[in-house]
Symmetry: D2
Subunit: 354 residues, 4 copies
């Protein structure tokens, strides 16, 4: 039996790098040798027991690698191809996918809430030497030779998610946009809003390091919620409210401020993962009569999405490498989790090299 090293979740605050069985590709599947991956905020939720996954699962969902094995029915690829795989791996053939909601993939049949998110959630994930990719035909995106692993690894989740905040919000040329929270996802939402033509992007956070990063990634104005009344300030700057607000954290406070910062007819685009109850104060919501919209989006995946995002990197329009502040080997991954979880040393994202 061939084995591999992998990051296995055993329970709350207990992940270990272990030797486990190496996966084999079945019909329509592929196995890739992972050359670069990273840790996501969601992985921290899993580690802390806040998002439940089954013990024994390999975690991680942002893989760059090389094709090692191709299952029956997968065509147009060769062993050795360098590929990027999105965090979300739609089948392309179920009701969810065929309806344009690939992130709610039903794996061949109906649809399932969050069903497209499988890596490190319902099947083994990317923080390992090898990774089984389901529905490989729809999910292996070849990496152009001129791009490095580091240039593309953050496209798998944070760029795809962050940009979708602006896309689902329908940002238009001339819009004023506010992005609440400037962690990796929020920074990518800031970048996405600029890419779509916003005249003004206001980044909000309470961490000076992140606000500095927001400025350097394109925010026109940054607001520190520790220092100003964000809603009042947004209304003043925008002359009554933003066209689009993007929530990139998942708390009642940021959600409510995002709603209160909207103009009538505006859109709140929500990326956060919420727990507990969310309250919508009716006064913030124009009593339901303000022609406002609340839209939610789970990271768009699939190889065409990845291809498009790599095109943005190739033409120099997007460069997320400044976010990769630290590098670790797979065997050092518990150190990496600690650093990332405690936000030490100005960490934004960590590169993990199996």
């Amino acid at each position: 039996m061939a084995t591999m090293r992998a990051t296995v979740f055993h329970g709350k605050d207990d992940i270990r790098v272990e030797e486990i069985e190496r996966p084999r590709a079945g019909v329509g599947e592929a196995v890739i040798r992972v050359t670069l991956t990273t840790i996501c905020g969601t992985d921290l939720h899993i580690l802390r027991g806040e998002y439940p996954v089954r013990p024994g699962l390999v975690i991680g969902h942002e893989p760059v690698g090389v094709v090692e094995e191709l299952g029956a029915g997968v065509t147009g690829y060769e062993v050795g191809d360098r590929v990027l795989v999105g965090a979300i791996t739609p089948c392309g053939q179920c009701r969810g996918c065929l309806s344009g909601h690939a992130a709610q993939c039903g794996h061949g049949e109906g649809y399932e809430a969050l069903g497209g998110w499988r890596f490190g959630n319902t099947i083994n994930g990317a923080q390992a030497e090898y990774l089984l990719v389901p529905h490989a035909q729809a999910n292996l995106a070849k990496i152009p030779d001129e791009l490095t692993d580091e240039q593309v690894v953050l496209l798998a989740d944070i760029a795809s998610t962050g940009f979708s905040g602006a896309e689902s919000g329908g940002v238009r040329i001339g819009d004023a946009v506010v992005v609440f929270a400037q962690g990796p996802i929020g920074l990518c939402a800031t970048v996405g809003a600029k890419l779509m033509g916003a005249a003004l992007v206001i980044g909000v956070d309470g961490d000076s390091n992140r606000l500095r990063m927001a400025r350097s990634m394109g925010a026109d104005i940054v607001l520190d919620y520790r220092e100003v009344d964000v809603v009042a300030e947004v209304k003043k700057i925008t002359g009554g409210g933003a066209d689009v607000t993007i929530e990139a954290l998942g708390t009642q406070e940021t959600f409510e401020q995002a709603l209160r910062s909207l103009r009538p007819g505006g859109t709140l685009s929500s990326l956060g993962v919420y727990s507990g109850k969310l309250h919508i104060p009716y006064d913030a919501f124009a009593a339901g009569l303000g022609d406002q919209r609340i839209v939610t989006t789970l990271c768009p995946g699939g190889k065409e999405r990845m291809r498009r995002l790599m095109e943005m990197v190739k033409s120099g329009r997007v460069d997320l490498t400044p976010l990769l502040t630290h590098t670790f080997s797979l065997d050092q991954i518990t150190e990496a989790y600690a650093l990332f979880g405690e936000r030490r040393d100005g960490v934004m994202k960590v590169a993990i090299k199996p």
Copy 2:
């Protein structure tokens, strides 16, 4: 001084038909002699002190009439023209209107939440012998000769609002749609969902009379919330959740059920007027990751909207006259309010003839 009879709000539970000054048309305005109007659920909220307007205001916002006077700058109309005027009277020239959000009209300049709703809210309304129409050029819709007042009066608000529930929800051919509450607005949402091609429209209410009406207006299935677990039933019927749900009441319970009845990727289209806090249970909301949308819409107004709705009546596709269950003169309007408020005698909507 010319006078007229009008329904004046004096305070909670106190409206009176009185003789007041008749309006004159200023620049860009018109005065119409009201020939038919009706009472809206919102008027009941005003009467009960639940929605604040200033004492002394004439209420009502659904006018059919005849042009009596045209102000300077209004062209293409003549005294004597029969016209329908929407409940919402956009100016067409402010930032809100020019952005496609005419219901959030700023009256020439910026925008204002609910700003397009003026009749019986911020200026004198339609339950009177004469009515001053602001921005007349944008709001006087000529009534085709072949249509009666009764055939068009319900287009001003309830048809425009109800249909917009389906329109903002983006109903498509083949959709399964649930409409929560089958009062006048909800019934029109039911009609609207059918008009846009829904395969299945499920009407929900707890009033047998309204459920019967829902069936006769086109609902394929009706559910009585007193008898069945609506969310479970919807999920069973639709195989996992509706594509679009329309909330037409404005309560926590209906909002929450509308959210829980959605499939991943579905849209909740909200028409209700909410008070207090709304709660969004995170489990009903797929933790914010279900690609779901919540959209709100205030009644679309303006003469082009009214023209389009009258075309639907003209071609026989829409007939709302069955909803006009009772008729009163203006002087009997307090009786009409009582009947309508208490939902006596199977009342759906009342016709008021000044």
Copy 3:
């Protein structure tokens, strides 16, 4: 070697029912036993040598059948399931499909113009006892027990195509729509425009039988181009031009009239298959400055599309059985082609039972 009877194209005006090898299902494929199919106008073009396909090909692309064999990797189906398969069989996993253009399917990789249309075009088709279905997971749509083969067979192509004329045209509540040509596709476009809320649908043709059928399928007005100046008449009826016009034939004359019948800001939705050059007279096109759009659509396929269309039949909103005017066995198919090609006996569509 197992064999089957099939309709084989040998060259211009030469099709024969022959005994050929029965297909076997490979990875991701299925074989169905065809229980009902029909002949399409496109098949006539093939027979007449106007649309080139390779000699030896089995033609036909509208299959209803029963699953006979399932290839590796196809899940959720069983031998014996009754299924409808769309004329277009997208893979769901290529660049075209993942971009929302499934009819331009690249079969796993990029995209290809018309690539989704394979049956009877680039692979063996449906006028046979057995049919190999590629990408079966994305294309086998189970037929609800309560629906007969006859009720669903016309969904595979003509309903899906005809309705898409209205969908791509963006028909809205209150629109005036003109449909040029009232053959099977045009009639379905007429039905589709009504389903989406058009106030007025005008059907145009020069065949009295088809104009009668148009009226019975929902056209509010029919115009016989042999008797009236269609463009002038449309402009008069609509007060300046239609919101949407649908071209369902594929000739210069109908295309040009569809363009001239549009209002400024209107949309020409084209379904026809054109040959030779199309001319756009600049005066018909407002010199390119009328905010008009020309959109083209190839029949949407895939199992979710078929499921949605079957829902419309199930709820009684769509009934296309009146179009199935004649029935033939597979062995009589050359007679069926003759009748259909010569438009004898008021034929609209023929049912072929293998």
Copy 4:
């Protein structure tokens, strides 16, 4: 009688700066003192007799000025306000405007093809000391103090038109876009495509100066049609065809190349003004089955559009001043026309100061 200097069209090749009567503001109108304007390619068509206007008309449609007089009913402005007025001056209150097609404005009632374009077309225009602005409430856009006249004058037409090429084309993050012709409108389309997130913008022209300008305004690649087979090159670079192509000239050749350069499912966004017949070769058009769209757009106007574009300049995202290569006084305007018409001295746009 107060008089003013103005550029009057007298017939083919005959424009003269003359002393004519100064306009007065009627109801809903304003008069501005023009401080800066420019010459448009359309003005050249008028001068050459290629686009017919009535002799005696003052031409020009790109005005920056100061409010001199406000008619009855215009509110929220004061004499002395610096304003930008779009080339298109919608009323906001007709069927065209209320349907979202403000450029096809019907001046209070229905709609009219190109009806929103009035300055220098159907009413006196901007190449004069004073200008009467119709529907002033919808069209006077106050200029922020920090912006100069030169920074905003090109927004009135060329930026609004050029950007709309990308907007109507639906450019998305990751798209490959080709812009045919790199004159002022085409350059703005190039800028617009970048603003909306195109990964790759290819600029096409046959003038080396314009190709250089295209590069400096953001084109990733420029193609000289004198040197390469543009369609073949686009297909090679994009791997099969562009997502969006923008036609910014108005000739058969550029239109046809724009169509041939599209991928299946792509959109041709046309800005050009065409004369004579346009031919659509059916092979370039996938025989009408390629899910392709052709969209046309006339310059969006109105004060909200101008406000949004000025926000883009204010935040530094758009700077069109490099296009203002020459400056003339109003009395030198015939020299300016000559220079601009002959494309001498690397002229892109000329500033005219009354």
